[in-house]
Symmetry: C2
Subunit: 288 residues, 2 copies
């Protein structure tokens, strides 16, 4: 028997702006739901970082979203999902916790395996170096079916998108270099920045190019239906960023496909992310 | 009257591989000296991080080099030099400490100002976003002379070099975009990765392109002459990295222009960098 619980916003966590491409699909699937998006842009990119550092950053971000009242957090970042999701789930969720942390890796694997199980062929998964090093996408695919998977790291693509160069010749050349010689029949975008590079991907390959985000949204709707205790609050989206809030609003709109209005700056204080004025220090910084 | 002190190796600290281009010049200037190089590659890039985080990372790295027996540490990274050098000097050096921490910003400013003071014109300083946000290079130039300086952030260039694409069409196009419309008569490479992009820079501009590293080495030799208490030990270079030691050895050789042999992995333990076995986790990482 379901308990009566207070409706809560849904948290969406990403290492930076990229997860806004996931939020766009979540908002389409749940148009009245209140979302709180936390982008760790001040400490991104995560792709090259050690796993232990990623775990610490992820803990701080998820705890901030819990402090914002969220009970369900979608980890929109493939790097965090591939490396730290089990840790976050072990630490924060379970029968007594009344909280849930969901990722993007399993939906991406389900989508890709479904694609090749009807059409055949090999799956190519393009992602950050850390995501690829984890091998988690391949592991999740193989839990579903004995499919052929090739993972390829493309560490420059997220920085190119963060720079706003996604339609440039730099982007087209870089994508072509990363896809060169790829023996696959479907390409999965394994980083939430890559939907902005869809044109460059489609110019570089004849394969179908799959963005997992719409399927991630469909799986969240399904999960909420199966967990009626997790009642979703209604409201406008809110945005938190560890980086420059103005830059977040400006760049974020490109990713969300809609205006990103007020952005709350949060900063690390004694191991926690707390609301803080954005101070951009000039010159040398001397600490007592 | 100089005290008799034990010869000590010279520490060189960088956020990753880039500082090896500085070490190359230091080794040329002091061919018998023993250098200990610490690259914080496991926590790089620093460019987007908050100043307070950079200070903490820098403290850990400098303290590790002191633990290795170094008494002089050269901060080869422009980002750390621009933001944290005064803090490191205030914390670790001074009359009673018998230690010194030197940076690259003032030598870079001296080199640039000297160039335009004889030839005239405006200085362009190309660097990471954090280095440019500090404005420290311009501040140091203006302490020397009322010269015109323009600083420009080029956040994609260090990642392009880390990817090993420095001679690619991607590198040439990216450098050309960053230098586009620059009204200057001399270009200063304000990031230790950029010497590997010298060809791309020289193809994109008719201005002289200055790498401060040889001048940093000359200033160190001069400093050691003026501080005879800091006797330099002789020996082969040693390398420490917070990132993957194998990747450090492979990539590092490109930056150093010589083989990087054994690399000691160091990792953060209770706020200190200590020697540690390198564990590259596969799949999900769960921490107690």
């Amino acid at each position: 028997m379901g308990r009566r619980v207070k409706p809560a916003p849904i948290g969406v966590y990403d290492s930076g702006f990229g997860g806004l491409t996931v939020l766009r699909e979540l908002s389409r699937a749940l148009p009245r739901a209140e979302f709180v998006y936390l982008g760790d842009a001040g400490r991104a990119p995560y792709g090259g970082r050690d796993a232990d550092v990623i775990l610490s950053l992820a803990e701080q971000c998820v705890e901030r979203l819990f402090s914002e009242g969220c009970r369900v957090v979608v980890v929109a970042c493939h790097t965090v999902s591939s490396v730290a999701l089990r840790h976050l789930q072990a630490r924060y969720t379970g029968p007594g916790q009344e909280r849930a942390v969901l990722g993007v890796t399993i939906p991406a694997a389900e989508l890709a395996v479904d694609h090749v199980s009807t059409r055949g062929g090999r799956i190519a998964f393009i992602a950050t170096a850390r995501t690829v090093a984890s091998g988690t996408f391949t592991t999740e695919c193989h839990k579903l079916a004995p499919v052929a998977v090739v993972e390829r790291a493309a560490p420059l693509l997220a920085p190119i998108v963060e720079e706003g160069w996604e339609t440039s010749d730099v982007a087209r050349l870089a994508v072509r270099r990363y896809l060169d010689g790829l023996d696959a029949q479907v390409v999965v975008l394994g980083c939430t920045h890559f939907p902005l590079l869809r044109e460059a991907f489609e110019a570089a390959t004849d394969c179908p190019v799959l963005d997992p985000a719409p399927f991630v949204a469909a799986r969240l709707v399904d999960w909420l239906t199966r967990h009626p205790d997790f009642t979703v609050a209604e409201g406008e989206p809110r945005f938190l960023s560890t980086g420059d809030p103005d830059a977040f609003a400006t760049h974020g709109s490109r990713f969300l496909g809609a205006p990103v209005t007020t952005v709350q700056h949060v900063a690390e204080t004694a191991g926690r992310l707390e609301p803080a004025a954005r101070v951009v220090p000039r010159g040398q910084v001397v600490r007592a």
